[in-house]
Symmetry: C2
């Protein structure tokens, strides 16, 4: 045993119980829905044959910051413990890169993994920003290059399946960094300005068209208008018709065509469209990028996305591992859906049934609870020392779906009543009939 | 979007990819088993109608350290971020107490919760000790006192169900702090020495009987032998026959009798015995305490336990909330089972089926994968750009259970082959027959 010594409350001195700002802590009825969402996402990952991964919350600072620079460092929770300079992870990608670098010789490629876990960013708390949040990631990594577009399309497919499982309407917008890279190179726009232009395009929808053209003018007066027009293109045919002769551009166009072809083969129920204003950060992605947006909110809100990168482990190894990944910020997604009243919070318990012993029937109540649990029906016995009325009150308050009061009458007659607490109806029957009814009900 | 700026790998300078000592990071085949264990534990909590809870990894230091003293502070990961003095949580109990103090007026009592999450203790890394580890906790909290022993017994029941679900043989040893408290008070042993004696009793099994009596002699020469004898008592009758006239002792005995009575009503398949040498830490528990020990290892290894406490929130509030809880250290449990060769690692994928497209059948392969996934059968399509032989090799290496090669022959004849990769057998049939077969297989 690892002992932690707990001191007794020092007399009357009480400490103010409070939670750090920017750290989500939910009440039970919301936590139940949050956990359901989390497990639906995990289930989609597993159904797609992705392997689980779990890496530490804490890592060496030089490892975590290998790939991060600039503003990132300010956001990081970094400190010393003994001789170690450590950080809380700020995403699941760098730990994944570290993992792949360590295990590169034993991994079987393509390596397909998912990971769901908390990450930390100590930025200023703003509306909708969290300092601790769950990220749900998947990646498909190749040894060398990913030569076909199946992995890209399958990642978009998983993203789509997840929102279908969550019953959330989205649209997935797809672009390719190579389109811009090719266009910029073709027109000799320097690398520094390329990044600045992408940064402006990333603001699409947040600033007006005029403001955007004005900004683009600063970095490429000659091509500002054309860049703006390309960012509005919604069809591959239009993009082809630009007839830009640049190998990177042409390759990007080919990849986009291929991805849309494969997407047709996948059973995707969400809308998937071309949108060249999708950028997804600045430096990380090198090919296909995609982003999911909510359809049922007034504002345009991004709730996940991903893309292709040329090299996962370049900070750790000379080996080249290309990949494509998806990331969903679950904490933020939950918060947005909650604030837009798109979630239903009904229950304060995971229990489907509460059994209320009346008189000396605790033994039988435990046996019946055991039968239900063996049928995968969550069950609690209201065995605590309160009156019948208080227990009925309790069952009502926690919002349990079904209540069974078991007294000696029920035991003797072998007929039980199953009360549907929402509808107020009572189903009467033998234990077998009750179990069958519970097993069938959602 | 929250952007993290990723810098490109700076030329040739590579960073050594490494993980902090004492932080478990598993390879895929082990991670799969670890996650299965975690989800089995969660399933038992849910089947018993416990509500989920999730609290931050980071908390204000004064909140986390409210209840901790002495050696605890040295173990804590504590640092400053901006103006905040913060800590990584070192258990799930103090955050739970904080939560209950914050929400005390909206909670419905008895409040029954479970929580599974990582906790952090920066102690020296020793054999079997982790600095980051999963704890799996449940608690049942009353508003005021817990007047009956049903909650205690039900907690022991959940502990038992968990190890049954994990298919791990344990014995659960039960004691009551009140037995010792009553005995000590009855013989006017001072409080300081009481703690020291309990600390010695806690070493039972780790030091010899003679060494124990010698140590006990230091703090209570008069009663050392009697204390040692009581610590060996294995039956309630024997304890009754001591005929100690002290209200705390008698109350403790009554509670023990009552717990063992209720345990008889519960369908507990593990061995449950009285063992007064069970102490469970020093200061925290005030009544019934219990601990689970592995039966299939050479050494005596504790793998979880819990007990009753008088007041959860005394450091935060004047309200009295008594409770009983269970805690299992999953990371350590996994490590022990692994080191004792009690776990089986067979698969490097969560996929049950791999579909290998032969020729131009990707579209059909995706459709079939979709059908399988809708039947809850994890499926991957080997769609990547490799040769048939390389794909067969891949399917073998990741240890997928079933392989389906789908060429134009299969599509035209509507007859498919499902290869059991372990047994080398092939089942032939229509898609419906294959789906049924997969649905039935474990």
């Amino acid at each position: 045993m690892i002992f932690i010594k707990y001191e007794k409350g020092q007399g009357m001195k009480k400490i103010n119980a409070k939670t750090l700002a920017g750290f989500m802590e939910l009440t039970t009825e919301k936590q139940i829905v949050f956990n359901q969402m989390k497990s639906k996402i995990e289930q989609v990952f597993i159904l797609n044959g992705l392997s689980p991964m779990d890496t530490p919350i804490l890592e060496y600072s030089d490892v975590l910051l290998a790939k991060a620079g600039g503003d990132t460092e300010k956001q990081i929770y970094r400190f010393k413990k003994g001789d170690n300079d450590v950080c809380l992870r700020f995403d699941l990608t760098v730990p994944f890169a570290k993992y792949c670098a360590i295990h590169q010789n034993s991994l079987v490629f393509p390596f397909r993994r998912y990971q769901i876990g908390k990450v930390f960013r100590g930025e200023r708390t703003q509306k909708g920003r969290f300092r601790e949040f769950y990220q749900c990631d998947m990646d498909i990594i190749a040894d060398g290059e990913l030569t076909s577009q199946t992995a890209d399309a399958e990642c978009i497919g998983v993203l789509s399946q997840i929102f279908e499982a969550l019953d959330v309407n989205i649209i997935i917008k797809i672009s390719n960094r190579k389109i811009w890279k090719g266009f910029f190179d073709c027109h000799n726009i320097e690398e520094e300005n390329q990044f600045k232009i992408l940064n402006i395009l990333d603001k699409k929808g947040k600033i007006s068209d005029d403001a955007m053209i004005l900004e683009l003018n600063k970095f490429s007066p000659k091509f500002a208008k054309q860049i703006f027009e390309i960012s509005n293109i919604k069809s591959l045919e239009k993009l082809f018709s630009l007839n830009i002769k640049n190998s990177v551009f042409e390759n990007g166009l080919e990849e986009l065509s291929s991805v849309f072809e494969i997407l047709k083969l996948l059973n995707i129920k969400n809308k998937v469209i071309l949108d060249l204003s999708i950028i997804r950060g600045l430096d990380y992605y090198t090919g296909i990028v995609f982003e999911a947006f909510l359809l049922d909110t007034a504002e345009t809100i991004s709730v996940g996305g991903g893309g292709k990168y040329e090299n996962l482990v370049d900070n750790f190894s000379n080996r080249k591992l290309a990949g494509v990944g998806v990331s969903i910020g679950l904490t933020r997604l939950f918060d947005i859906l909650d604030k837009n009243n798109l979630l239903n919070f009904k229950q304060f318990t995971t229990s489907k049934v509460a059994i209320l012993p009346l008189g000396n029937t605790l033994s039988e109540c435990y046996i019946i609870a055991d039968i239900f649990r063996n049928m995968n029906i969550p069950t609690m016995v209201l065995s605590f020392d309160k009156t019948f009325k208080q227990k009925m009150n309790y069952a009502n308050k926690i919002g349990v779906q079904y209540l069974m009061v078991i007294g000696e009458n029920e035991i003797n007659s072998k007929t039980f009543g199953l009360k549907n607490m929402l509808e107020g109806t009572v189903f009467e029957g033998s234990l077998t009939e009750i179990t069958a009814k519970l097993g069938k009900s959602k």
